[in-house]
Structures are given as structure tokens and as C-alpha cells.
Amino acid sequence: MATRVEPTPAPAGAARPTDPREAVERLRWIWETPRTLAGALTTVDHKTIGIRYLWTAAFFFVLAGADAALMRVQLAHADSRFLSPEAYDQLFSMHGTAMIFLYASPVLSGFSNYLVPLLIGSRDMAFPRLNAFSYWSFLFAGCFLYGSILVGQAPDGGWFAYVPLTTRAYSPGPNLDFYALGLLFLTISTTVGAANFIVSIAKLRAPGMSINRMPIYVWSTLSASVAMVFALPSLTVALVFLELDRRYATHFFDPQGGGSALLWQHLFWVFGHPWVYVVVLPAFGIVSTIIPTFCRRPLAAYTLVALASVSVAIFGFGVWAHHMFTTGMSAMATSFFSAASMTVSLPSGIATASWLTTIWFGKPVYKTPFLYCIGFLLLFVIGGLSGVMTGLVAFDRQVTDTYFVVAHLHYVLVGANVFPVLAGVHYWFPKFTGKMMHEGLGKLSFWVLFVGANVLFWPMHHLGLAGMPRRVYTYAPGMGLDAGNFWSTIGAAIFSVGFLIFVANVVRSLAGGEPAGDNPWGASTLEWSVSSPPPAYNFARIPTVRGREPLWEQGADEIAALDSGARGATLLEGRETLGTTVMDAADEGIMHMPGDSPWPLALAAALALLFWGLMLRGFWPSLLGVVATVFALGAWFWPAGHHGPGVPPRRGGAGREPAYGGGAA
């Protein structure tokens, strides 16, 4: 692997057709999925999958938001009897679980699925079928979890489900089985999704996109994915222990049997704290993409921001026990984790300073996505400051498990996930659909949501300091909690209205938004070099990148033109993209990609069967699920699914030919 950054000219140049229209025609034949039901169920197109992720995550956001709205109605005044305590417990547990696992992380997977291949100049993800499987299993796992609400037995132990409350002795119903099995199922989806991002980013970057030229969004997705790969197994272990304790009377968390109730807390937070960074890092990436576009200059201190996102992902593993300051840890341990928590906020400080510097020396253009980024900055800095406060032991002992923490985590997660996501939707909507969103409605939705978020969450600081514990379904009047709760509920209503305005804007723009053109924002990254929406094959010619801001430095014409004589590979012999070296992105040769396949859906369905069998404690359904899973895996890997070296060449003649590797059935 030489340090050569310029790739060899057109390694596949031999296959270059003379007529660009013929080449495009061929690419469409190779890459497009037929618009049929079968096509919809078998497609592996990362853009389709990304959009599906976004819609599905939005659906779960609405459900989890409705849970929260009901809670806010209950808490609007003291001693309310709107909800029973059992209902309230299920609602807050599902609100947290769904927001974290079914909205915050999948919505970013949606963006990354859609954007990463486009940002790195690839035609798809490294494992397109695995990508389809990630989506289907996410969908099924999400429905599995929310299915519990339909039978009125939703998880009710909070999103971190502390034992012993969640063991069989204190929670004999199926509620926590839905939680444990549903999240185990989801873990599979998320792990393979993360692996896919890592490999795609490592190997499929366009020639010339050395790691010091990767867009920050790609850096943040990579960091989050690496954190996922190492954090999720801890959750898996915790959930397996929990389910074994519940079902088979093992003693992992049972102190009488030699187990430990704190083991759950350790395992959960070793997963849980890195997960906080997983659901904000790609959102940082969105902000780091949008702010430079609307400040008309590159991001300040690119290298520092890239390093910051990597170091957050790493340090995030060293702070889990700051969730456990009150459990009776030694003074030494609490001090260590407190100091580590101070340290982990430093990379965020660097990122914030970089955004401020970019704005300081930039020429801001006040479009909706930029406003949402400003909103993010304000909310996130408040959440960060309250985070530092809760990281300090002497103060944390007073505010932990109160509404102060609820305020803190919502400023962080609404600030650093929801607002960047909304920024991202407004920003990439033109790319997704070819249509612009309405600016006026967009700005209105921003202001209403921003005011709503603050009216909703700011009073929670006061409630926490006034001594309101979290997860109480009611409170007594006259304890100094009435006004704060009332205003918070008003804020929830305002926030809901803001979200409805946003939804109305999406619907209106889908139906009749103005045509967007390829690059309505004059942005610099590769996705804006192709049409809106992009063709199935993304890039007619794999671009060659010469800087961090390709479209500003090279111009879209050079990147995109099929017949401009620019360097770049036109791969027309099947589903192919370029593989490049990890550090320098010097091209290594052609990657063969599998075609559409029914097996990802079949495997996800088989797993769904297995988990439902386990849930219902049915031996035969479970066994059938195992057999179906093994069979689906075998079929998936059986025929030509491999795209290794040395695949015999396909005939390059005219006429529709099946996509390479599509013959699984």
C-alpha cells in the first residue's frame, strides 16, 4: 500500500463506452429495482433503505412522543387521576426505550444509510443485503416491542430496567420479556448495521478520499459505529442474564443466590453511556455538514473535530459508573468516574468551539437547516452545562434521579439529536425527493419547536431542584411543583404543534415542493454532484476526490461528467463499485456487489418468528424459528452471494442482464 493518493487513471477504463447515454442506460438496467411488490421486498438499494429507516423511526418517534404527551397530561396538575400508576409506568418506560432504541439511533442510521455511500462516492454499502436485513429486523423488533402495548403489557421498569424490580419475583407479567427479547432482537439489527458502516467507510471511499479528506459526517458515523460494535455486546449479555433469571431461575442478579443486583447496572451503563454518544455523534456530523454549507466556508479545525468525535467514542466507555454515584461505590471510584466525566466533555468543547469559529469567520445564510443548527447549539450547550453539574459527585447526589436529570438528558437528546435530525431533513429533503421544503413553514416550525422545547424542558430543572423525583406518576400539591409541571405541559403542547407544522411542511413539499436541482444549497460534498433524487447507481462514474470540499474545490462538472475526460471509473459490468485502501483511498480494484434478494427479509422474518416463539414460550414456534433462521442463512450464503476476487467476467453485450449475484432464489 503505497502512500500514493492519486489513483491510477481509470482502472476500468477498458469498459468505457463511447456513448454516455448508452452507459447510463446500462447502469439503470443493472441497478434499478423494478417498481413492483417483489422489488420493494427484495431491494437492497441503500437509498430506499435509508428512507425506510427515516419513515419508520419517525413513526416510532410519534408513538413515543404520544406516550410522553399522555404523561404530561397526567402531570399537568397535582394528584391527577388521568392515568393509573401501572399505565404511567408503561408509558414512561416505552417512551424512553422507544426514543432511544427505535427513534434516536435508527433515525441516524437512516441518514447514514442514505448519505454515507453518496458522501464517500460509492454506489452502495459494502454489504447491501446485510443492510436490507438490518432494516427489516429493526422494523420487526420495533413492532415486537410496541406489540406489548396492544396487549397492555408493555415494559414497565424504565428504559434501564434495574433489577430486582424487573426480575420475575417483582415483575411476573410478560412486560419485561417484551423488553429483553425485543432489545436482543434489535441488537442484532444494530450490530450488523454498524459493521456495515465501518466496512463501507473503510473500503468503499472514492479514490483520493484519504481519511484526512473524509467528510466529518463520515467520521462521526464511523466513530458511532465503532462504539456500537463494542457497546452492544454488554447490553446483549445483560439482557441474556435477565431473561435467564426470569425464565430459568438462574441467579445472575439474585444476591441470595450469589449474584449481584449491581452487575446489571454495570453491564447496562457500560452499554448505555457509549450509547448516548452513538445517538448524538452522527447528529454532530449533520451539524458539522450543515453549518459550513450555510456559512460558506469549510469547517474550522477539521482535524480536531475528527479527532474529537473519535475520542468521544473511546472515552465514552470510561464514564459509565457516573450513573451509579449513589449506589455505595467507594470514594475513590466515584472520584475517578467524576473526573472521567469532566474529561469526556472536552471533545464536545472542541466541536462547539469549531462550530462557533466556523460561524464567526463565515457569512451565514439564514435558511431553515441553519436555524435548526443554531437551535441545536443553544440547547446542547445548556444540556452540556447541566451534564457537567450532574457529573460532580457532591451535586449529583442531590439531583440524580430527579427532574433535573430529566431536564438535562432532554436538553442533550432533543438538542443534539432531534434538532440536528430536523436540520438534516430540511437540508437533504431536496436530495431525497428532488423538491424543496417550504422555507416559511420551515422557519415557523423551528421557532415553535424551539420555544416549545424550552417551555417544556426548562421548568424541569426547577422541578428537580425543588425535589421532584423522576418516574413519579403524581405529586402532592403545595410542594412547589405545581407551576413548573403546568408550564412543562404547556410546552409539550407547543412542541407538538411545532412538530405538526413540520409534518405539514413535509406533506406539502412532497406533494408540490419547488424543483430542487442538483445542488440547491451550493454545498461541497459529493451527494450534491448527482441529480436529486440520485440515480439508483449514485454515480455514473466513480468520482476522484482531490480535497475535503470536492464540489467547492473541483466543481460538480468535473466530479459528475461522464464524458468530460476526467479521471474516474465507469463500472458497467454488473453491480460494482471501487474498492480502495483504508488510509489513502488508493484504488485497489472492483468490488462486486450482490443484487436484490429475498433472503434478508426471509432471515429477519425467521428471527421474528423465533423471538415470538420465545416470547410465547412456544416450543414448536421457537424450534421452527431456529430452523427457518438456519435455512435462511444457508440460502443467503449458498450460491453467488460472494463478491470476492476472481469472479468470472460477465458478457458486456446489449440486452437486459440480471444484476450480478442476484440469483439467490
Binding site: 450490530t191 443466590g257 450469589g258 453491564l267
Partner: protein, 202 residues
């Protein structure tokens, strides 16, 4: 591979991936990430085991598990990695007989290992329900056993493909990855063996 080479090979030919450049196919990278997350999984399992161990006055609660069955079984599993290595090398060299024989031998040894583990389970005088040590012991060895089983299924799948002739030289990624996974399962066993069987004796 240079452009000239590519052109000499005629229009449909393309440079095979990683030829002469030291790179790896995405499939290899995918397997590496899978192994990383699996390694993390076993780290958390063993971390939990030691977390309980250090809090207990006596651990293992029923004394160190006997080595009579497990020591030779460990040797067998290590040897199976050798057979897998042979299958891998044969595949790379286009030796189909070696590939099939190596895979078959690996499968037999792995299956025997699994059988002996089952025997060990049935002979043990404690159950997962006995106490937290029992829960840990069965869960950790059970997780490993499940990985052996998955490895056996993958090896069987690969063997079937080898018999039907699907691995010409240069298209051996599935063999390479399966064998890589098998090596990993063996290494994990050595760690589990050391933690569960040897560590209590010191």
C-alpha cells in the same frame, strides 16, 4: 495491476481486488468486525464472571471444575484449528481434496468437542439454578458451545459448497472467513478454559 494489463485482458476483464496491493476484500473486513464484537461479548461475559468472583469469599462455590474431560477436549479443539488451517491452505492452492478432507476433519473434531462438552454438562453435580456460579458456568460454556455449533454449521455449509465445486482458487473468501471464525472460536475457548478451569487452581 496496471491499466495496460487490464486492457491486454480485453474489455470485460477487470483487475481483481487486492491483487498485489495487500488489501483485503470487504468480506474479510466484515468478518473482522464480527469477531471484534464477538470478542467484546465474551469479554463482558468473563468480566461478569470475575465481577462476581471477587465479591465472593469462595469462588467457584463448588470447587474448581475437574480437568479430566476438558483438558483432552481442549487439545482436540486446538488440533481442529490445525485441520481447518490445512483446509484453508488447500483451498488457496486449489487442492480440492485437501479442502474437503480438512473441512470434514475439522467438523468431526468440532462435533466431538461439542459432544464431550455435553457429557461434561451432564456429569456436573451443579445446575445453572444452583447458584450464581452455576449460572455463570453454564451460560459462558453454553455461549461458547453455541458458537462452536454455529461454526460447525458454517463449516458444513462450506463443505457442501466445496463438494459441489464452488471454490476455484481466488474465490475462497467463504472458506477463509469460515476458517477464520473457527480459529476465533478456538482462541475464545482457550480464554474461557483458562478463566473457568485453570484460574481457580491458582
Amino acid at each position: 495491476m496496471t491499466t495496460a494489463d487490464a486492457q491486454a485482458a480485453g474489455p470485460p476483464a477487470r483487475p481483481p481486488l487486492s491483487a498485489g496491493r495487500g488489501g483485503h476484500d470487504v468480506g474479510w473486513w466484515g468478518m473482522m468486525v464480527l469477531l471484534a464484537t464477538e470478542a467484546a461479548l465474551f469479554s463482558y461475559l468473563l468480566g461478569s464472571y470475575f465481577y462476581l468472583a471477587v465479591q465472593h469469599p469462595t469462588w467457584p462455590t463448588i470447587g474448581a471444575p475437574p480437568l479430566a474431560l476438558v483438558a483432552p477436549n481442549t487439545a482436540l479443539l486446538v488440533a481442529s484449528s490445525g485441520a481447518a488451517w490445512w483446509a484453508d491452505r488447500s483451498a488457496d492452492r486449489g487442492n480440492r481434496v485437501g479442502l474437503i478432507a480438512g473441512l470434514a476433519l475439522t467438523i468431526v473434531m468440532g462435533a466431538v468437542f461439542l459432544g464431550v462438552q455435553g457429557l461434561e454438562w451432564s456429569r456436573a453435580d451443579f445446575r445453572p439454578q444452583t447458584d450464581a456460579y452455576g449460572s455463570m458456568f453454564y451460560t459462558i460454556t453454553g455461549f461458547h458451545g453455541a458458537h462452536v455449533l454455529a461454526g460447525l454449521l458454517a463449516l458444513g455449509h462450506t463443505l457442501l459448497r466445496a463438494i459441489t465445486g464452488a471454490f476455484p482458487p481466488g474465490r475462497t473468501l467463504a472458506v477463509n472467513n469460515t476458517v477464520l471464525y473457527w480459529h476465533f472460536v478456538d482462541v475464545v475457548w482457550l480464554v474461557v478454559f483458562t478463566s473457568l478451569y485453570l484460574a481457580p487452581r491458582f
